[in-house]
Amino acid sequence: MIHRRSLLLRAMALGAAAPLGGCNYEDPAHPDLADKFLHAMSAWNDRVQAALFDPHTLAPTFRPDQITNPPRFNAFYPIDQAPVVDEATYKLELGGQIQNKTPWSLRQLRTLPQESQITRFVCVEGWRVIGQWSGVPLGRFLRQVGADTSCKYVSFKCADGYYSSIDMASALHPQTILALDFLGAPLTAPFGAPVRLRIPTKLGFKNPKSIMQLAVTNVYPGGYWEDQGYNWFSGS
């Protein structure tokens, strides 16, 4: 994993010389002065974005003919390495400040009211695609299982080792869903089967795929990319 990550970072830095040595977020475990400054500014930007976030502002929706086809795969590994989860035995595990932590099977998740959306998925790299997702509104689900929605964070752990977390206000946003379907059919492995987060008010990397565990907590959970230097809130 470490090796693959460093290769990826190298690939991303391809063609980019380093005019300022050190100012690079290269080694998150050993931040230099520039890294500490950038961390402080990023934390400040988290607070600004939380203040700017309006729970009633909806992300723009699109027409079916505007859907990007074929859909674009994106992950920190090639498409053939996407994790394949056994849907028959799958159970979404719950943790943290949740009253009823009984795991949820896919069939149970499908008994809850489903919400469909055609929204824009904006990658931190700048590109965007439009897709259709449907699934269980996360706010509805959190209330169903008796989550303490006064907690700060909802965190996710995925089948591929990916992890991420979002603020509670964004988790309760009406367009934030635990997606089960993509483009009118159940999610496939590369696009996050069996359950992924779809949150159109945040950047793409805040939409974890193949979620195995969901937890509600007040302890900052970080994230795979967030821990390497991407801004945590990353709201749109």
């Binding site: 400054f37 309006d54 502002t57 723009p60 700048g126 990319w225």
Partner: protein, 195 residues
């Protein structure tokens, strides 16, 4: 005393802070561009060694750019400095442009010639466009009205790119003119004195 200074201290301070903001914003902007190029090229250099560092610099530098810019605008309006930029008359621009090309344009200390006026007003406009289109890209959902003003997220990215291009062209000409008339540099540091 202050009347005789070529460049008052608020102008000098905001000028050099803006120069720093330009290095940070353009350098990190190139790094971000390279992650998903709009055109068939990438920039050979960028601030930060990967996208995450580029974005971190960009979103940190934006505060310097915007607050410094606001201080400049407020000072400029309050002190009347902005009047030096106007009026911009096309005939004067053309005349000063021709004499500049033939290297006959006189440098009148403390006065902006017509070409300067046009360039400064132009780069200020590009700066405003860069900030507004940048906010649209950063917050296309929360600042949807701003993003819509630019025709949506995709077009806002192009506007942001071309605003940067305009600013880079200005910097190129600006540095070239300083190189041609180097005596204008010290007063931008010390303030200088009008003759």
């Amino acid at each position: 005393m202050s009347r005789r200074v070529i460049h008052p201290w608020p102008l000098r301070l905001t000028h050099w802070l803006n120069a720093l903001a330009m290095v940070i914003m353009i350098g990190s902007g190139w790094q971000i561009y390279n992650a998903s190029p709009l055109f068939g090229f990438t920039f050979p250099i960028g601030l930060g060694q990967w996208l995450g560092a580029g974005i971190a610099w960009h979103l940190a530098g934006m505060w310097l750019l915007v607050f410094n810019g606001l201080i400049y605008v407020i000072w400029s309006l309050a002190s009347g400095h902005y009047k030096k930029l106007f009026p911009i008359r096309p005939r004067e621009v053309w005349g000063d442009f021709r004499s500049a090309l033939s290297l006959h344009l006189k440098h009148e200390t403390g006065v902006y010639n017509a070409v300067q006026k046009l360039l400064y007003a132009g780069v200020l406009l590009a700066g405003v466009l860069a900030v507004l289109s940048g906010l649209s890209i950063w917050k296309p959902v929360q600042l949807w009205f701003l993003c819509n003003l630019f025709g949506g997220y995709v077009i806002a990215r192009y506007v942001h790119f071309f605003a940067m291009t305009g600013i880079c062209l200005f910097i190129l000409i600006h540095l070239l003119l300083v190189a041609l008339v180097p005596k204008v540099l010290p007063p931008m540091i010390t303030g200088g004195r009008l003759p």
